[in-house]
Each structure stands twice: as C-alpha cells, then as structure tokens.
C-alpha cells in the first residue's frame, strides 16, 4: 500500500480497540518469567555449548601474537575462534568497527577471541588463559583537543546556512554565546547482548536480541560472507535496546563462528564489564550556541555549532539538528563537525542527535529568556513557528507546541515558580522549577506484515517487527483487532522472526506508527479476501463484533476461513508527503528539583511531560515510553557519564556500579499528558512516535530547575555536585 495522500476516515478511526488503555498482551509471560530471551532457548536445539568473549586489552594497535595453548588444553574447551581461524569476514553496513578484532585493534575491549566450552564456568575460566601480546599505537581519545580537526560529514548532516547569521547576531540587542558539553553515554540495557547460533548445513539460525531484524540478517550475512537467504534471526523478546541493539554485535558474529567451528550450537552473552567498551555508545558533544534576539524577545539569529568524534568512517552525532526547525528566526547557522577518535564506536542511542542537542539548546533558551527578562515558557511561545523556518512554504503537519507549554504550565503550577533563582527553600533544600521543550522528528519507514484468519475466527499477525519494551505486541494486536472487527483476545501476534515480512523495526521512534500501518495495509488485503470469500462488497462491508456486515447480512468472520485459512500480506510504503510537510512530535517537560544546600546533591521532586504526537495507539504503553524516557533524562542530567581515560583510550567506569543510572529512589511519581491529536499526514494510523520525544529536553528542564534552585548555571553534563560546590551558599 502506497501512502501518498493524507489519510481519510478509515476503520482505525472507530477507536474501539486502538487508542484504548490496554495492558500488554505478553504481560503474563513477562511477569512470570516465561518470556524467553536470547540466552534462554534451552529446548530449541540440543547440545548447546557456551562461548565467552575475550576483549582487547589495548585501545589501538595490533595483536603481536596469541598463545592459545593453555586455553585450548583447559578442561571442557571445544574451540577457540580468533581472527586467525575465522576465515575472511566482511563488515556489515551498520557497523563501523569490525566485530572480531585482530591483528588490527580498533578499540578497547574489541573482541579478539571466543572460547567455546562445555559449560559456562569452563569457558569463562579458559578465556582467562588466552594469552595475547599487543603492540600499542598512539590514538586520539580527547574530543576537546581533537575538535579543531573536525570536518563536515555532508552525507550525514550538511551545514544549514540561512540568511545572514553573523550580521543579524552582531546587530541583535540581546545576545547569548555559550558552550555546552554532553558526555559519552551508555545504553546499558538490562539484558546483555546475547545470541545463540545453530547451523544446519550451510543454513544459520540465530536466536538473538535485536531491534532491526532485516538490517541484522543482511549485516550478519555480509559479515560471514554468505547469502542472506541462508540466515534466519529469531528475536521474540528483547531486554531493552535503546539503539544499542539496532545492529549485530560481537555476540552474534562470534556465536555463529563458534558454532561453525565447534560443530554444535553455541550461545554467547557479553559479560557486563565488557559490554560498554565492546559495543556502541552515544558520543560526547561540544556545542556552541549563539542566539540573538530583539529586546521584545523575537529571535533574529540562531547558530548551533557542534563537534563529536568517532572511529574512522564513523558517524557524527547530529546534535545541532533540532536548531534547524524548532524555533522561528530569519538567520540561521547549523553545523556539526566530526573528528576522529579511537574510543569505542559511537552510534545511535535513543533519540540520537536530538537528545544531546536539546540538552544544550534548551539550556540556551533558558539563559536567553533570563537575559530578556521574559518567562521561559513565554519566550518559547513567542518564538514558535508553524512552518519550516528555512522554507516557509513547508508547514508542519501538526505542531501543538504552544498547547503543550500552556497545558503543562497550568497543570504543574508554573506560576508558583520564583523567577529569581536561589530564593526558594525547604529546610536545607534549595527548590527550583525548570521547563524545556521536547522535539523530535517523525520518521517514516516501509513496514510489512502478514495476517492470517483461521476457521476459529482467530487472527494471527506475523511481522519481523520487534518489541523492545515499547509495546509493539499490544498495539499490533490492537490494530489487527480494530481492522478485523474482533476483540483483542482473538488476535495472536508473532514478532521478531526474519521468516516474517520485513517491518520498520524498532528505532527512531518510527516503530509504532510504521509497523501498525504495515499491519493496517495487510489487514486491508485480508478484509478484501474475506469479503471475496463471503461474497460481499469489500468497500461497504463492516467488520465488527466478530462479524462481517454488508447489505443487511451479518456473517461470522470465521466463516470466511471455513474452506481454509486466508493469508494476506502487504506493506506500507511512504511517498512524498514528507517533502510537502515537516512531520515532528512536540512536548514540554516541567521539573521541580531540590538541591542540598550543603552538599549540592540534586534530587528530582516532580516531573510532568505534555506530549503532542499524533494518535496515541495505547495510552498505557505510550505513557510508559514517556516516563521511561524521562527517567533516562534524569540519568543524563544528573549522573550518566562514561569516564574517558585519555591516556589509555577507554571508558573506565564500564560496569553498572561505575556507570550510574537512576534507581527507584531517584525517580518521583511522574505525570504524562497526551494532547488529543491525529496526524493524517503521518500514516493511516494518524499516529507518530513518543518513545524518543519523551527523552528530548528532559535533562535541560532539570538543568534549568537546578539553576532556578541555586542560581548556578552548569553547562557541562552531568550536573554533579562537584560542579556546584564552590558556588553554593556559604555554610553557617
């Protein structure tokens, strides 16, 4: 199904199932421990062996020699995979560093060997006996000192130069010129990277934990130098991804190689202390933001220039991107520069670009509002734009940013905020409120599904779409139920298997809208097939309550499958609408913090997000996506930072004790409001995404609240107490 004109009324608009707050259909499995994750498929193939990955001890250089003798002779060892015996390996399109290092080493903890043994204990012990001699080479590990060599990555994010920024900024009566930094951050999803590989002849089956099944089938086949058709990926449950599992990682490749060498199934999970340097992370950024405004608060000039680093051939973190579209203003300069760093691979993490970008931009807006002596909510409203500021003929399809801000301000009690920083106390705590805008574009990706109807009236959906905690199982079930006029318990949803039609996958907050639109398309075909079997007119047939109604007749839906199961397959393909309309999602974050006046410890007391993101398919799971993102934003604001050892070139705090993420005690009750919205330009579902929107801006709202509480402006994330101690009130 081509989607090339805005959606009109369709069966989804009935909202009998879609749009209703619905508990997860896989909930009983997850809460009883019966949902199988990648390392847990004990019964699918016999004789499973265990693989343990050995990571490089240096950041850059090469392996001089490897002595495997001790390891090989250790009890239970079956095989050891290294680059020397792995055969020629390709590299996947989505990987920057190779997944099995040697002889060249590209980053710390890059995999250099897999030890396969009869038991996990034996494999782990033998992995310690792998002797590697390295020759270390000098690398670049410091973004700040390398930024001068940054280049424009035109294919990833070309410069935006609109109007005359320099002139307008110079002429602006009120100016801000400030530099912000965001650190390297880790996904640290709760389920480690894990895969189990099994070969049947030249056919590979990989049970894994992966967000993008089709990308990863392709990349695994490329890496192993085999036809894509010979690779099957199965990933029904994914214990979190956040972008870290968009791609195949070393566990997948090494499980496949290990299983081939061992001649039996091999399962591999990355040890937690290896994960952070072995896999990808969100790259650190430096961002300089200049804003010029008239004295009545209209932005006239906006420059957002950023720097990030990655391995050679890697990706720029497009942090400056939101400044292209978020606020009005005639004159604009938006650039990113990419420099080479020899740290582990930088890559996508939840709302890549926008997350660090909004962390900086939304502090800058707060600073500018203060300079202008305008309330920060009003300042943002004043500079709203309903069109692409660099192409005014291109409107936003829907943009309810002002409504988000107004609704949030009212619900949060924004009028109780003290405009003068450092003037509100609760005992020894300094209290402050902050606001920031949430903004993330709506991406559209082709997505397919297959739908089956059997003679019991059961509808089965099959798509390689994944559920990484986002709620895909349920919204896909709701979509099929709505389309086929059945209750949700009459729908079976099967996901995460490359033998199913290719979907959008889980990434870029496009999964919910696109994958359900794909199911919509398949269901349209199924409805046609049903109508044909039942001899009714598909165009006027009503599918409701398990029946098909047409021309005064009501026929049980299951009757259509009496002569055999009906199968329909289709995909949604998005055409030119995104050129005519800018599609984005919007929100506003409100936060209240308390800062210990003695120690500078910051604790979040209240949080509210108001989101406008098209039709909300399942308010229950959508809300969870947003509160989860808000939680991640608390981490980014207050604690998360991969500490770079700039001499040795690695992230030092590479476990869950060293890399702190929020715990229960850090997170207050969280409120989320979804504005009523449908966006007919987006898809037949009229939905957009919220999973990344919820993260964009949260951290800045916290930073702004800390400023409001203390009068201390921290421009370098995370906002830890050591950055405030000297400026806190004198102790009596």
């Amino acid at each position: 199904m081509k989607f090339d004109t805005p959606a009109t009324t369709n069966p989804i608009d009935q909202m009998k199932v879609v749009g209703k707050a619905t508990t997860r259909i896989e909930g009983p499995l997850k809460t009883t421990g019966l949902a199988p994750y990648a390392y847990e498929h004990h019964t699918v193939v016999p004789n499973q062996a265990y693989g343990v990955v050995v990571g490089s001890a240096i950041a850059k250089g090469r392996i001089a020699s490897m002595d495997l003798e001790l390891a090989q002779s250790a009890p239970g060892v079956i095989a050891i995979v290294t680059a020397a015996n792995a055969g020629k390996l390709g590299k996947g399109k989505y990987n920057t560093a190779t997944l099995l290092g040697g002889p060249d080493i590209e980053h710390y903890h890059q995999a250099v060997a897999l030890v396969v043994a009869e038991t996990f204990e034996q494999a782990r012990a033998a992995a310690e006996l792998v002797n590697v001699s390295y020759v270390s080479a000098e690398g670049a590990f410091d973004l700040a000192s390398s930024r001068g060599s940054g280049v424009e990555a035109k294919d990833q994010m070309a410069d935006t130069v609109h109007g005359d920024f320099a002139g307008a900024f110079a002429a602006a009566p009120v100016q801000l010129d400030a530099t912000y930094t965001t650190p390297d951050q880790a996904h640290v999803m709760m389920e480690p990277f894990a895969s189990m590989a099994s070969w049947q002849g030249d056919q590979l089956t990989l049970w894994t934990s992966n967000q993008m099944i089709d990308w990863s089938v392709t990349d695994l086949a490329t890496t192993l130098g085999m036809p894509k058709q010979k690779v099957r990926l199965i990933s029904p449950y994914i214990g979190g991804g956040f972008g870290g599992k968009l791609f195949i990682r070393s566990d997948a490749v090494l499980a496949a190689l290990g299983a081939r060498l061992a001649g039996r199934p091999v399962k591999v999970a990355l040890a937690r202390p290896l994960m952070i340097n072995n896999s990808t992370h969100r790259p650190a950024t430096i961002q300089r933001i200049r804003i010029g405004a008239s004295s009545d608060g209209k932005i006239t000039a906006m420059a957002h220039e950023g720097w990030s680093g990655d391995l050679p051939g890697g990706k720029v973190e497009r942090a400056a991107q939101p400044s292209k579209l978020l606020y009005a203003g005639e004159n604009r300069l938006v650039t990113m520069r990419l420099t080479t760093l020899d740290l582990p691979e930088g890559n996508a993490m939840r709302a890549p670009g926008e997350t660090p970008g909004m962390m900086a931009l939304e502090i800058a807006m707060d600073e500018m509002a203060e300079k202008l002596k305008i309330d920060p909510v009003e300042f943002r409203i004043l500079n709203d734009t309903q069109v692409d500021p660099t192409n005014p003929k291109r409107p936003f399809s829907k943009r309810q940013l002002i409504e988000c801000l107004r609704t949030g301000a009212e619900r949060f009690g924004w009028n109780e905020r003290h405009a003068q920083p450092g003037t509100q106390r609760d005992g020894r705590w300094l209290i402050g409120m902050g606001v920031a805008v949430a903004f993330r574009n709506n991406n559209l990706v082709t997505s397919g599904a297959r739908v089956r109807l059997n003679d019991q009236g059961m509808v089965t959906v099959e798509t390689d779409m994944t559920d990484i905690g986002t709620g895909s199982y349920t919204i896909i079930g709701q979509t099929a139920a709505e389309m086929m006029g059945v209750s949700l318990d009459k729908v079976v949803v099967r996901l995460g298997d490359s033998s199913f039609p290719v979907s959008a996958g889980s990434g870029g907050q496009f999964g919910a809208n696109c994958s359900t639109a794909g199911v919509y398309a398949a269901c349209v075909k199924l409805r046609e097939a049903v109508a044909q079997r039942l001899g009714v007119n598909a165009d006027d047939a009503v599918f409701a309550d398990g029946e098909v109604r047409s021309a005064g007749k009501s026929i049980p839906l299951r009757n259509a499958a009496q002569a055999g199961e009906i199968v329909a397959e289709d995909s949604i393909e998005f055409a030119e609408l995104s050129k005519q309309f800018q599609q984005s999602t919007f929100g506003a974050h409100f936060v209240e913090v308390a800062v210990d006046s003695a120690t500078g410890e910051t604790r979040v007391r209240r949080m509210l997000a108001v989101c406008a993101a098209g039709r909300i398919l399942n308010p229950t799971s959508a809300r969870s996506q947003v509160i989860g993102a808000m939680t991640m934003g608390v981490g980014a604001a207050l604690m998360e930072e991969l500490a770079v050892d700039k001499r040795r070139g690695f992230f030092v705090n590479h476990d869950l004790a060293g890399y702190e993420v929020p715990v229960h005690a850090d997170i207050p009750h969280q409120e989320v409001i979804f504005l009523d919205e449908t966006d007919a330009v987006s898809s037949p579902m009229k939905a957009k995404g919220v999973g990344e929107l919820g993260l964009c801006g949260v951290s800045a709202a916290i930073a702004n609240a800390v400023y409001n509480a203390t009068g201390i402006r921290v421009r370098d994330y995370p906002i830890t107490l050591d950055k405030m101690l000297d400026k806190l009130p004198e102790m009596i």
């Binding site: 508990t23 997860r24 909930g27 499995l29 809460t31 009883t32 421990g33 019966l34 390392y39 004990h42 001890a57 240096i58 250089g61 090469r62 020699s65 002595d67 001790l70 002779s73 250790a74 009890p75 204990e121 310690e128 006996l129 002797n131 590697v132 001699s133 020759v135 270390s136 080479a137 996904h187 999803m189 709760m190 389920e191 480690p192 449950y237 994914i238 214990g239 979190g240 937690r272 202390p273 990484i468 905690g469 986002t470 809300r623 969870s624 509160i627 993102a629 808000m630 939680t631 001499r647 040795r648 869950l656 929020p662 715990v663 229960h664 005690a665 997170i667 207050p668 009750h669 969280q670």
Partner: protein, 213 residues
C-alpha cells in the same frame, strides 16, 4: 623465572614487543606468569540439594556454579535473569529462606538445604501472584528483563517492612517503618530498570501493600 617465561604472558596481559610509532604508549609489562596450575586441573564437582519452588532438587555441580547459573542453566528456570552477574543490577533477585538476595553473588553449593523461590514459584500466567497481576495492571515494566527480579524483590520488601526492618528512608530507627512511597522506593533501589518503569512499579507495589493491610 627466565626471560622465556617473561615473554609468555599469562592470561590476557600484554607486553610491548615493538613500537608502531615513536609515540607508542609505554605500558608496563605487569605480568604474573604463573600459568594457573589450578586451571589445568579437572573441574571440581560437589553435590548440593535444595528446594526450588517447592520441589526438591539435587544437583552435582562444578563448585564455581552460582545459584543463578544453577537455576538458569542446570534447572532451566530462566525467569531469574542475568543482567550484570556482579550484584549491580538486581535482575537475579530470588528469595532464599525467606530473604531476597542476588543469585549471581552466591554459589549454589552454599545453599545445601535452602528453600529457594523464583519468579516461576510465585505464580503462573493462569494463576498470577497478586504482585505479578499488579505489575501487569500498572504497566510496571517494559522490556520485561528486570521484571522477575523487581517482582521477587517487591514481594520480599513488603515482608521486610512488615517485619520492622528499617531502611535508609526511615525517618526514625526505632519506630515501625511505614508503607509509604519513600520507603518502597529506597528498598527497591537495588533493582535497576533501564526502561524506567519505576513510577509504575511503585504504584503496583503500593496497591498490593494496601490490599494486604
């Protein structure tokens, strides 16, 4: 130890054997060349018997097997999750002899005669434990990986409050701790959830707690 031994690096330590560039980082050759005699030996096994979810289980295990791996790999009870294997995440929380613990940081052989309750022992899809039902109702999870640990922990936390065990969040050390949000949040803080379902999890636990009062 002769020169030859110095060059044969034990484990995955490294030695600078040459220089790629003049600026090669000079890392010290801190080598322990004792090629582990122990590691060359056969694995050492020991017998252990305990109750898991009401069933007696007898195992003959490599002594190195943690309770977590015994549950997941030997007994194939994979509801108990391995998130970090180092006591830093709480995904492996189970209840042993009435107390919650991290199954990753205890050896199976240390639990002779113990009574172990895992998520599978709390309830099943057809017969959910009230805490499991509350997590579903309040959407106290997303990816589901930390969930069994959260639920086992939550069940134990209510017991700890009932038993009068204080917490960091207790205003008074000598009064009976209260079933209030701050108490539950503090006590649940050993269970990380990267999806960030905390707010919902607290709602779920509170509902169960209030129903039990």
């Amino acid at each position: 130890m002769d020169d030859c031994d110095l060059m044969s690096i034990s484990r995955r330590k490294f030695l600078i054997v040459g220089a790629v560039t003049a600026a090669t980082v000079a890392l010290p050759p801190f080598i322990s060349a004792r090629a582990s005699a122990a590691n060359a030996a056969r694995p050492i096994k020991a017998k252990v018997a305990f109750q898991v979810n009401g069933q007696p289980r007898a195992l003959d295990l490599d002594t190195r097997t943690t309770l977590l791996d015994a549950l997941r790999e030997n007994l194939q009870l994979t509801g108990t999750k391995k998130g970090c294997d180092h006591g830093q995440c709480g995904a492996c929380t189970v209840i042993v002899d009435g107390r919650r613990l991290n199954a990753c940081l205890t050896l199976a052989v240390m639990h002779e005669g113990s009574t172990v309750t895992t998520i599978e022992g709390l309830g099943t899809p057809d017969k959910l434990h009230p805490m499991q039902a509350a997590f579903i109702k309040h959407d106290g999870y997303q990816c589901g990986y930390c969930t069994p640990g959260q639920i086992c922990s939550a069940v134990a936390v209510l017991g700890e409050i009932r038993d009068g065990i204080p917490s960091h969040a207790s205003p008074s050390l000598t009064d009976q701790p209260q079933l209030i949000t701050s108490e539950i949040q503090e006590r649940m803080s050993g269970n990380l959830c990267r999806c960030g379902a905390y707010s919902n999890i607290i709602e779920a636990i509170t509902e169960v707690a209030e129903a039990n009062v």
